[in-house]
């Protein structure tokens, strides 16, 4: 036995519940599992509570608190299902709507300061909501405050062991049940085994597989790849949410790239093409005077103008506020005006460039109402979960589902391990780690650095599997991804540093990104219609026969699909209206 192997054996962990990904969902799951008596190992490839989508979310959190005006779980659910265009798993959506208020109030007990007006939590309108339902933390600080509150809370539990810079690269399954995982310790480039009787995958979405995205750089679809490789199913992978007016230029730091939308509605920002003409009316909508064309039409119109050679220098549209008096701008934007000025952006003198970008993934790991996959002991939470948002997510539901699904997954996993015996299989673990070490330690001097291939994959996905798709483009994407898998991916050039070997980290990430991208393209080809966030230019209409979900799994290493009826709910179970 080499000394390296001895190190690895000595460093093996043994816990009840492993949680992969420490954003809001993972941290909430850790708290719930620890409260229920389980020992927890909470890991993140970045730093605990500082990566992923949560810290970036500057906007709002939706919950039927009925603090501003009458509301109900049923009404929130109606709005959620309407956005989902018939494809929501209604049980999961109802869970978000019914448990959301409890979690929002629990977060307040833990110290988050939701914006308040007198005794009431302030709730505002957001697109798609029929009442004022969205709470927030001032000023544009919702996500960072959520992350900070949970980071503080998890330190109160001695049963939660936290490890940063520790990337789960494979879930280990023996006889249909989770037995642990293998993770890369980035600090010294070692693969370690983790023995766990249950695992929660809460590693977020896949925005990083797209060249244009609004999220952190560390969500490359690992959650989906980990679950798929472990034998779980994915659902609705074709539904990537593209935010229509994400910020493109000038370079803006310190703000969420999706920040423009509320201001556009509030004060009326004009969308102009590269020739400074209004253009939304050319695409069957009106924007004049109101500036509220729907998200899908705005995205379509912007990309069509770009395609016709009438885009802005960075391939988008101008968002122009110059027709608004300076004092009105300051009143509407508040302190944001100064953050913009610090970036050299003076809205009274110049337009900014905006365009569609990947923002969130509706698809994901297929689970039941306890966040259980079909693999015993394997759970999902947060954006990693698929199905609750159907074909399109209602604004404000992402952080809510992180809380709700995290709490549910943590409870269910803790409950699960009470009955489960360890099924640790040393030989299986050894084989898996040897296979992964071959991948992570084999460098080809003539090969390509994984970050370069990541960049190419991001380009392919943006150009060929982006907001507007065709069978032809998707087929080309599929062919190139398959080619990379059998050629470049097998000959990566990896640096030989021991500490923070970013090439090796990128290589494992790329391996997952390829799988996630492949699933998106496969499902997008399979759905020959346009619905919600999935728009096929060769099939521009919705097909009522396709009010079904595509469920993907791996069989002999290849993706296969079956169509399933969306899970429906017995609505008599929902609560009565709530009054402020």
């Amino acid at each position: 036995m080499s000394s390296q192997e001895r190190d690895r054996r000595m460093l093996r962990f043994s816990v009840d519940v492993l949680i992969a990904g420490a954003g809001a969902a993972g941290m909430y799951a850790a708290i719930a599992a620890a409260r229920a008596g389980a020992t927890v190992l909470l890991v993140d490839k970045g730093q605990i509570g500082r990566g992923g989508a949560t810290v970036m979310a500057q906007m709002t959190v939706a919950a039927a608190l009925a603090e501003e005006e009458p509301d109900s779980v049923a009404l929130h659910l109606d709005d959620t299902l309407k956005a989902g265009r018939g494809l929501c798993n209604e049980e999961l959506a109802a869970l978000v709507c019914s448990e959301g208020p409890k979690r929002i109030r629990e977060m307040e007990e833990w110290g988050i300061r939701w914006a308040r007006e007198g005794q009431r939590i302030k709730q505002v309108m957001a697109p798609g909501h029929s009442v004022k339902r969205c709470c927030y933390v001032d000023f544009l600080n919702t996500g960072p405050a959520v992350a900070a509150t949970l980071r503080r809370k998890i330190t109160e539990f001695s049963k939660i062991r936290r490890v940063s810079n520790f990337a789960v690269v494979e879930i280990l399954v023996c006889d249909g049940r989770v037995m642990g995982a293998i993770a890369l310790d980035l600090t010294n480039n070692q693969l370690l085994t983790i023995q766990a009787r249950a695992a929660v995958v809460s590693a977020g979405g896949l925005t990083k597989v797209y060249a244009r995205n609004s999220a952190s750089t560390n969500m490359g679809g690992e959650a989906y790849a980990l679950a798929l490789w472990a034998g779980a199913e994915l659902i609705d992978m074709e539904f990537v949410q593209f935010f229509p007016i994400g910020h493109l230029a000038p370079r803006l730091v310190g703000m969420d790239p999706i920040m423009w939308e509320p201001f556009r509605y509030k004060v009326g920002g004009k969308l102009l093409n590269g020739q400074f003409e209004e253009f939304i009316d050319r695409y069957g909508s009106t924007d004049f005077g109101q500036y509220n064309a729907t998200r899908d039409i705005a995205a379509y119109a912007i990309l069509k103008e770009v395609e016709a050679g009438r885009g802005t220098p960075h391939g988008g549209a101008y968002l122009d506020f110059r027709h608004i008096a300076e004092k009105d701008l300051r009143a509407a934007f508040g302190p944001v005006i100064d953050r913009l000025l610090a970036n050299g952006i003076d809205l009274s003198r110049m337009p900014v460039e905006v365009g569609p970008m990947a923002h969130y993934h509706m698809g994901g790991i297929r689970v039941d109402a306890n966040m259980r996959t079909r693999i015993e002991g394997l759970y999902a939470a947060g954006e990693a979960v698929g199905g609750s948002n159907g074909a399109n997510r209602l604004s404000g539901n992402a952080i809510t589902e992180a809380f709700v699904f995290g709490e549910r997954a943590g409870c269910a996993a803790a409950d699960d391990v009470k009955a489960a015996n360890s099924n640790w299989d040393e030989k299986l673990a050894e084989e898996s780690i040897a296979r992964l070490e071959r991948f992570g330690r084999t460098s080809d001097d003539n090969g390509i650095a994984p970050i370069v291939l990541q960049t190419e994959l991001q380009r392919i996905m943006w150009d060929l599997a982006g907001p507007f798709r065709t069978g032809d483009k998707l087929t080309r994407a599929q062919a190139r991804i398959a080619e990379i898998k059998t050629t470049e991916l097998r000959h990566l050039h990896l640096g030989n540093e021991r500490e923070f070997n970013l090439d090796v980290q990128d290589g494992f990430e790329l391996r997952a990104m390829m799988t996630a991208a492949e699933a998106v393209v496969y499902a997008a080809l399979g759905r020959a219609e346009s619905r919600g966030a999935h728009q096929r230019e060769d099939f521009p209409l919705a097909d009522y026969q396709l009010i079904k979900n595509q469920v993907l799994e791996l069989r002999d290493g290849e993706l296969v699909c079956r169509w399933a009826q969306p899970v429906r709910l017995d609505r008599s179970q929902l609560e009565k209206p709530l009054m402020p």
Binding site: L11, G46, Q47, I48, R50, G51, G52, V55, M56, Q58, G143, P144, T155, R162, V163, S164, N165, F166, D185, T187, L192, S214, S216, T217, N218, A249, P250, R251, L252, V253, G254, M255, D256, P257, N343, G344, A449, P450, I451, V452, T455, H493, G495, E497, R498, E499, F500, N501, L502, D503, D506
Partner: protein
């Protein structure tokens, strides 16, 4: 409107001798130092050691380094035509290149 930024980056691991590498990075006004460091990883040297996550929002607080002698978040520093010197934080234990030990001790293996 594209200009060239000249970066001088301190490289090396803890306990080893260090060196400075020079990079020229094309940029547009408004681009950040972190954008340039990421560009170097893709186009020049993928082994350059840096930490970052959010890249856009100055929310993750992990991209910190010494820039022309001042402690800065590299995402908040704008590129400029005059040379920029980038070094690891002096008061944290060096790990490699610009990566220093900023992780809380109870989040380590």
């Amino acid at each position: 409107m594209s200009s060239i930024a000249k970066l001088r980056v301190k490289r090396g691991s803890f306990g080893q001798s260090s060196r400075y590498d020079d990079f020229e990075v094309p940029y547009e006004d408004g681009m950040s130092l972190l954008d340039a460091l990421r560009w170097i990883r893709i186009h020049r040297d993928s082994t350059l050691g840096i930490r970052y996550s959010c890249i856009n929002a100055n929310a993750c607080k992990t991209c910190v380094a010494l820039v022309d002698g001042e402690v800065e978040y590299t995402c908040m520093v704008k590129l400029k035509p005059t040379p920029i010197r980038v070094e690891p934080l002096p008061k944290r234990r060096l790990i490699r290149d610009l990566i220093t030990d900023i992780v809380p001790s109870d989040e380590k293996l």
